[in-house]
Amino acid sequence: MKLDPANLAAIIAMALATYATRVSGLWLLRFVRVTPRMQAALDALPVAILTAVIAPSLMKGGPADMLAAAVTLVAAARLPLLAVVIVGVSSAVALRHLIG
């Protein structure tokens, strides 16, 4: 089975990065006083990254994809993740067909 050296390097880099974030919290409180501002910045990171990933492809996708994203957001507020994906994908297919 394929194990590409570059892929392995990437997986190891990801593993080390993740473990570093998880283990450093054990000592953080001994050295740093976490200010509310730092807390706010760190809390914002997951949303900021997730948004940054999808924003350019939504722009490229045009109005059909943007509408589908709005539908998906509404669905995400009340449905479990799997249902959100089904609603999102089917609305994207339908809207791309209708709007182009």
């Binding site: 000592w27 760190l42 900021a48 990933v53 297919v93």
Partner: protein, 242 residues
Amino acid sequence: MAGAHQSGLTAPSAWDEFGQGAFAILPAAVAVVPFALLLGALAAQKGLSPLEVGLMSSLVFAGSSQMVSVDIWRDPAPWVLLGLTTLTINLRHVMMGASLSLHLGGFRPWQRLLGVAFMADEIWALAERRAAMGRLHPAYYAGLAGLLYFSFLAWSVIGAIIGPAIKNPEAWGFDFAFTAIFLGLIVGFWRGGGTAVVMGASAIAAVVTQSQLGGVWHVIAGGIAGMLAATLLSLWREEPHA
């Protein structure tokens, strides 16, 4: 024998604790199945083998960051960028670990170092809840971690095996599956209007960076812009407004 008998009377055994942990995580272990399947299938579409997907899930074990990484995966793999992206997405674990460290009194040093490797969001949340109700036992934590870990690992590999069977994913709208998953995850992190401000700042920075630089640096740019927006927002909220 006498000691074992006594401890059996005074406190629930390690196996009881383990079972209770596994039972508590059961809903999350089931809920992760479609997510892991999709992660494996999308990774396979990017050219990763089931072995590579299995290695990633077992060594990284951080679903959102793996999903983002798979989305920006190229051949050859940009390992510096993937490492940096993973680091920024998972920076929240520093705070989660700091909070959890206050409840690890019953853990030996090696149990702490090993335990935090499994600190996915759901495991952290349930461990915090257990600690708030009483004492967090290492065996309870092992029950939480074990079941979710193997469910996530197995289903992501299965996804990687069946993923290549799906031909022409664009025609089925599967390329939008990433977007839908990320929007769903964003809603899970929602903390009111401030989250919308963070999203706006990140989206603008990401779109501008993407159009000027190309590549995948827009992920880092969006992360920095979102953090700046959140910092400014918290400064503004600290100021007294007449």
